[in-house]
Symmetry: D2
Subunit: 427 residues, 4 copies
């Protein structure tokens, strides 16, 4: 469009030109102001596969506690795309970025936009069930539906590269370039985390998650041997991400009431899947409303648990104690079948009926600190770079968050016999 050129463009020039001129379609976002899509990505956004994300609330039942938390995976996906785009813009100014190709960058931007495509309601909390990961479902959708062709023809990306960037457990042999994008998309300072911490804080109305995004981008460096690293002046911003994540888990993601709703769903689905009444495939592709429609149905033995959640008639907290990994009585409960037996036994002893007791143990989480800090030309692991957060402090974050909770219909009003039973099982 701007003056003809005879010399073939280098990849870097083509990438730069793509980033500079092709993102002409604005979408308004309350977090990042205007997000600009290319016309091709706009068509991707218009597909039913992507639009489905608008039916899945980002924080599931959290809106029952924080009513503002109505934002969806669609909002978040656009946000991740926007931050990924800014990251690439930063990266491309480094010589080390010479390994990137035009098609690779396009595939990466698609991956950022589509990384949550395989999500279904409560997917994050159902990791212990025999279900496909949302990443593998995302890859499947990208490769096996009409999306593949739209991605290829409208955006100039390579669908299989996009899928590989997202789904890391594939057996496919992948290129070094794919490895680079994987590390950008999923790391200590990835666009996913920067978006969700800031966005969840905005919609819930808490100050805890807000990240210093613009500053972080200015401190990112790209080194051929190491990929994305952070200048030491940005060290505190990494500390802030870690601590924010802890605070967000404490106040929002694992708020007691959110755990109750989640545990009810998890128990119901575990039971139905174990008995063969529900097949994994039935879950994939659902959104929030079809999920409750389908499984709140009386043909399932545990339907009541699900429909109660749909109607916000939640169980109540009877007991709560820290989860201690070193106690066998605690660690054995990580086995969901064993846990179901204990629940049944407690319910019997407490005189509570079918599904009368639920034991909740939040899923294991990690606070990644696997990042290199560049200090005086040297690359140093984050935990050795002068941070106030040693490995022990950071693992303390995860530990402090995990609590065993026992829920019943009546909560702590149900106590006497149940209390005895709990004492016995949890010490």
């Amino acid at each position: 469009m701007h003056q003809p050129r005879e010399v073939p463009l280098s990849d870097r020039e083509r990438i730069k030109r793509h980033l500079d001129y092709d993102f002409t379609e604005p979408i308004r976002d309350p977090l990042w102001s205007h997000i600009y899509l290319s016309p091709g990505l706009k068509r991707v956004v218009a597909t039913s596969q992507f639009q489905k994300l608008g039916g899945i609330r980002q924080l599931g039942p959290t809106y029952m506690v924080y009513p503002g938390a109505t934002h969806t995976r669609l909002n978040h996906s656009l946000g991740v795309f926007s931050l990924a785009q800014k990251m690439i813009q930063t990266l491309i100014s480094y010589d080390a970025a010479d390994d990137l190709t035009d098609c690779g960058v396009r595939s990466f931007l698609c991956a950022a936009l589509l990384h949550d495509l395989g999500h279904f309601p409560f997917a994050h909390s159902l990791k212990e069930l025999p279900l496909a990961s949302h990443e593998s479902l995302t890859a499947r959708t990208i490769l096996e539906t009409s999306l593949a062709s739209i991605i290829e023809h409208e955006t100039g990306a390579d669908p299989s590269m996009t899928a590989q960037i997202i789904y890391t457990e594939t057996d496919d042999v992948t290129s070094k370039e794919v490895e680079i994008y994987r590390k950008i998309l999923s790391g200590v300072l990835d666009p996913d985390k920067l978006d969700y911490l800031t966005r969840d804080a905005y919609f819930c109305g808490v100050p805890y998650g807000v990240q210093d995004v613009d500053f972080i981008f200015s401190k990112l460096r790209f080194r051929r041997e190491a990929g994305l690293v952070v200048d030491e002046q940005g060290l505190h911003a990494v500390e802030n991400v870690l601590f924010s994540k802890y605070l967000m888990y404490r106040t929002i993601y694992w708020h007691k009431t959110v755990r109750i709703a989640t545990a009810m769903i998890k128990k119901a689905l575990h039971s139905e899947i174990s008995s063969g009444a529900v097949h994994a495939e039935e879950l994939y592709g659902l959104d929030d409303s079809t999920f409750f429609c389908r499984f709140g149905h009386s043909r399932y033995r545990s339907a009541e648990l699900i429909s109660r959640v749909g109607a916000r008639k939640l169980y109540k907290l009877a007991f709560e104690l820290p989860f201690e990994e070193t106690l066998v009585s605690h660690s054995r409960l990580s086995d969901l079948l064993y846990r179901a037996q204990v629940e049944k036994s407690m319910a019997d002893q407490g005189g509570l009926g079918y599904n009368g007791v639920i034991i909740d143990i939040p899923e294991p989480i990690t606070f990644e600190v696997d990042l290199l800090i560049e200090s005086g030309g040297q690359l140093v692991p984050f935990v050795e770079a002068g941070t106030v957060f040693s490995k022990e402090v950071v693992s303390g974050f995860a530990r402090a968050l995990r609590k065993i909770r026992i829920f019943t219909v009546g909560g702590d009003a149900d106590t006497p016999e149940l209390s005895d039973a709990a004492e016995r099982w949890l010490n």
Copy 2:
């Protein structure tokens, strides 16, 4: 609870005590920080009647354009309650507030919380169809469901007074006190408008709607003869509300794409209700997902219009021109039956099939300016109190917003014959 008292409390003292001590249950809101409910109102909030509002997006299909607009009527209702509570706190410091009773204030606060209870999807755009108003449905829900007893026994309010405050077209004889509350709940500076303008701006991510709420409250005065008035120092805040409303209609509420989705639904329902295939009662009580489930069903002739909206496969704009009330060819189109005939005729002429053409004319709106300004001890109508917005300017706001738009599947690509037809019908 704090020291015994023998003397009976005056109503003012009881109201003050209620406001000071009974609102102990916090809910986090991204707009107004913490909203405090009384334990009784917390139970009202937990009812299925109120929770249903969490399934109705405040701005309907607007999230298709502004993806952040996922907030629901539940969020908004809590916000209106919170602002109403602050207004009462201001009011109660005026001597003129001596006419208020403890039960009245409690009924008013319930009314603020529950004013949108009768809402169903697209209710605002379906006012021209033979449907009950959402206010009358709200009153029905308050008086005829289990809510009545919860309101009465848990909050100390009088359900029939609450219903009267909301539903103003009732034939019931109402008290002077009810009149006062009606004016507070629905006026130029009402808590409804102050919440929705500010909230919609927050979730959409635009600066236009934000109101100077705290300042406005400090300039409200309560006069026995006139009810709520505004000190002249607050005049510009009223101007700001008016202009913000105009900007929000222009950029959000009546954004072209929002109008398309709305017009498609309206046409479909008008047609189905006219033919008797759908009865008004079927709409009441629906939320967003049950709405699309039920009416997207192929048993309805116009189901396709509805399921297209559900899937975001919208018609496109073919023409647009200002609506001119004084042109008969325009004003006649306000009659939906006549409009349907014109649409059919145009579709025939343009070679477009059943429901192939939709004519949209935004519903009439008013920008109320019916407010008294207190200036040097005198009460003066707003438009005479030194504002830059004369009646003409304000009616210009409404006029500038109303446009006739013609939508078809293909948009302006469908033009030649359709263009001729449109020319004929709209001049």
Copy 3:
């Protein structure tokens, strides 16, 4: 730095490269997040000429009413630079921008950063006194101090072009390119106004001034024949700028107390300059603290007025009435010498001493609407492009803001005789 090139770069390419790679020095700004300077501009910022702006509060005595208004012309200048930079980034993507040169763009960016360099305390309110304009003083500083050489050698700009862009009343013959930059820097949607409205609102803590900056930039178009124009989709954003400006004048810039402080300074300086006790040159180059030091000194007859302002011992309002341009008794007061006589006469009649009465009439302001809107390929003047703000409405904004106020030490307590005098003079 990135691959060698033999072909000479076009100006557009050099500008693009400059904008893309040379702005590496971040400064944190609460409004625009990170502002990036080039190393050369960083040196300009470090000069004493620029740093002096850090001693001049942007809103002068406004902090007496809105204590948050402590921001300085330095903050604002950085903000204007940042917005100007974004505008150029937008512009450069238009073919019409082919008339721009690399040196021109650099000169323009300097102009944006330095446009307020000649400011001294209260400069805006002293326009009626025989003083050099701050624009001419800015040009002088740029051309005649050490800045000239720093600009030339460190930034690649042409100091005389920078000066011409800012100081439009020069007799110098200027290029078409200078004309383009002048229109960008000073128009309906200029970076100056977009910054100050938003910034002043942020620091004062009011919602009124906030502009939709990112959106506005996306609707700017650059047409060779017409310069900057706005797409019709951006029309409402222009309306918002106009209305915001009105609201900011009403609530902040011309707040009664701000006017009092301003009027006291103005009267004192007018009197001292008229009598020859103070020479214009003494004012230039002062900052807030040196201003009060120098003129609060008892050697001046009107020093008390100035030192009272410094100590926030302000006069009080005795009367206020709308300024009516068509009344001779009002319009004559625009002559400061005549006004001083009337003040003296009133003071005598009211039994108030020297400088006992001050008449304030806010300086004439205009709400520029001189902008072209692009609609369907046509360029239409803003007021004919479907706006709700006709010329009459907009001139009503200015009219509504101008009030004659009479201030005395005691305010309305001083009334009886003064009241008579005022009646006589102002009718």
Copy 4:
């Protein structure tokens, strides 16, 4: 004003009435929206003693790095008052608050407003010099100037109680009530810290300091035996305060450039005071501009250091290393006289002239954790209440922040000989 009463009011009722009805004078604040003063406190605010705070920037030379940091101790003082007022409103709802008196509460609110009255430029960094503390100077101003009578007659407070609340090192015997207020005004969650963290973040434009103020207030409890305690649900908000304080020190309060400016001033004043050229009393009562006027004067040997800071011609960093308390070579440097000798010796060795080398060691700081958490009816020290921040982690915050820095005019360009000298002295 509202109906006559014969029965004498209890103190609690008088306090409540005071809080409910007497705070009628709004001031706009960008952080806390409207702050309401009583007419009496408005008069206190108008005194020259309080207004002087408007001339002292809250963060001293920080605006050189974060240009938005122009806010003053006046802004902060109003904010602290506002938060203190909200705290009292919460407190008063507890039975344990029966020990509070009406006069006591009024004295406390004065104390909150006036707590920084004795501040002078750089006071926080000059604690190692033989100067009166700003608290004692505040007490002096309250008791020995015209303020005493204004406080007493206009606000109903007792000036000596106000002074005692602020100045805790007095020998005066104080009441239990004074002890309560002291703990509120200065503790882990005091209104001072909640204001400055949030305010400094707002003006600088960083997200790090923002506190969840409203939530914190909802979790404060008042227990007769223990004073202010925090419900365990508020534990994470305390963690957030601690971590925010660390981040703010790291990025803002002890930013390298801020330390340079501070160290230059400190060295200059230490030298002048040691030599007897400057007397402590000369510093008290200065504001930013009078400070630089007075001490930038050539009659002082170290004037150049001060005038350089005033003109932003700062020294540059030559070396930086962590301060290790256990190294004698480091700890000895805490003695300013010894430090001056080392500086001189280094300067001689490095061939740099008088005042050519400055060694900076940030003042010792503590991160107080001395707070009780209420958990299941028990009061538990914060560090034992399940926090992720052990005493070690928190003392690590302080440790990580303290660095020895060596500054010279040329910075690291001055290295060879200086480097040797530094090696010798700092190992």
